[in-house]
């Protein structure tokens, strides 16, 4: 590995001051499962590595009436070990518990997964459908941005050189709602998604009609994709197989996949439909509804 300096600021102010002075020469270290691997391969060569985990705000899990706040460096494992979070945000647990394996999850963070901006990132479609908002800070101030607008392309995000992702905020799920995430990989665990999909559905009080639906898909475009068309296409429609299949078809038409070593574009289009349907089915069940087969 190349030679670099190591800093461990203890406050957000200290951290933003460092980011201002080092800019693009610095890289923030959360779980290191992308950064350390990237440095060892020589792809990443920051002059300074700044460990974010000594700052309490960066590693907190705060569940309040207005929703869930996750410090950007909070590990996946601390998220899935939290029973209250698991009860309220099961889709987040779907994602956090299948990124890599257990010993990756002990380090890897949802914030890092987002900043890494991989098209196949397993937590990002979930954050998008849960309407997560990113809090971005620098010594110039604080701004917030919906997660759906955070990634710009493979490994590219909206952060300026002096900015960093501080927190993610997820609003409380509405009544009669449910969310789910799933992915297709050739193995059962420990692989990178060929296609992934997340859905959050809000049903009417009788659980038979879709009130609101949000769908996001991954590994089928340069960024994780919020496919509002697919959700809107089934708003106010009855909860049944035909409706869910229709959303799958619309999501498939929005996918712009490429062929690579993990799968062909055609396979990915098919999988987009299937993963969307499965995410919707599970989300409906979690919302208290049933999918009728007729």
């Amino acid at each position: 590995m190349h030679n670099f300096d190591f800093k461990k600021p203890s406050s957000v102010t200290e951290l933003t001051t460092m980011m201002t002075s080092y800019g693009r020469d610095a890289r923030l270290l959360a779980g290191g499962t992308d950064l350390i691997v990237g440095m060892r391969s020589g792809n990443l060569r920051p002059a300074v590595v700044i460990d974010a985990k000594k700052i309490p705000t960066m590693v907190e899990i705060k569940l309040e009436n207005d929703g869930l706040t996750l410090g950007a460096a909070t590990s996946c494992r601390r998220i899935w070990e939290n029973r209250q979070v698991a009860d309220i945000y099961p889709a987040l647990i779907d994602s956090a518990s299948l990124i890599g394996g257990t010993s990756i999850q002990g380090r890897a963070s949802v914030g890092g997964n987002l900043c890494n901006a991989s098209p196949s990132a397993d937590s990002v479609p979930t954050l998008i459908v849960m309407r997560a908002v990113a809090t971005i800070v620098s010594s110039r101030g604080t701004r917030t941005l919906p997660v759906k607008d955070f990634c710009l392309g493979p490994r590219k995000n909206v952060l300026a050189d002096d900015e960093l992702l501080l927190q993610l905020h997820l609003p409380p799920p509405p009544k009669h709602s449910g969310g789910a995430f799933n992915r297709f990989i050739p193995r059962n665990e420990m692989d990178i998604a060929v296609v992934n999909a997340a859905a959050e559905v809000e049903l009417d009080s009788s659980h038979t009609r879709f009130v609101d639906v949000r769908i996001a898909i991954g590994a089928v475009a340069p960024t994780p994709l919020f496919v509002s068309e697919a959700g809107n296409a089934i708003k106010n429609k009855p909860v049944n197989r035909e409706t869910i299949d229709h959303a799958g078809d619309v999501a498939m038409s929005c996918a712009k996949p490429i062929s690579d070593l993990r799968g062909t574009a055609d396979q990915r289009r098919d999988l987009t439909r299937i993963m969307t349907i499965r995410a919707l089915e599970r989300a409906v069940r979690r919302a208290g509804g049933t999918v009728t087969y007729d």
Partner: protein, 161 residues
């Protein structure tokens, strides 16, 4: 070249350990090359194989994906700390009894990952053991005996007062 070496204090297998460390050295390199704790193995060196699994502050991690400097004030458990003198840990005994190894290269990582599992979930199902150990590759055994060994050790540890 600027020298960024710092002095790090940790507790490894119950003993305070101080070592000098460059930021670019992984915890795995520190354990093996500076502290001669060579029970922890290097496999892929990128977080895929789990041969280097250790328990860092109660959480199993790939030590190849941790910087040594991050271990300041941390508590680390490695395979060397498991046996009580000549008495092997129930997980180690179960691995031998079940022949849950052939070449043995993945074994320290598997046992440390399994120890972390049993500390949090004392009687996991076979399916749960498989999922938990998915981060640890073994090219010899076909895994069945490993799962059996972990399940046996779980029972044994659970029955102990």
């Amino acid at each position: 070249m600027t020298d960024y070496t710092t002095r790090i204090t940790t507790v490894i297998n119950g003993q305070e350990e101080k070592f000098f460390c460059e930021p670019r050295e992984s915890l795995l390199e520190i354990l093996r090359d500076r502290l001669q704790l060579t029970g922890t193995k290097e496999g892929c060196n990128d977080g895929n194989c789990g041969a280097c699994t250790v328990i860092l502050d109660g959480v199993s991690v790939n030590s190849c994906c941790v910087l040594g400097v991050e271990a300041e004030n941390a508590t680390i458990e490695t395979i060397e700390g498991l046996a009580d003198g000549d008495r092997l840990h129930p997980l180690q005994q179960a691995f031998i009894r079940e022949t849950a190894l052939q070449c043995g290269y993945c074994t320290p990582g598997l046992i440390m990952a399994a120890k972390d599992l049993l500390a949090h979930e004392p009687l996991p199902s076979n399916e749960r053991i498989r999922l938990w150990l998915a981060n640890n590759l073994c090219r010899c055994t076909g895994y069945t005996r490993i799962i059996k060994a972990v399940a046996q050790a779980a029972k044994e540890l659970h029955q102990k007062p």
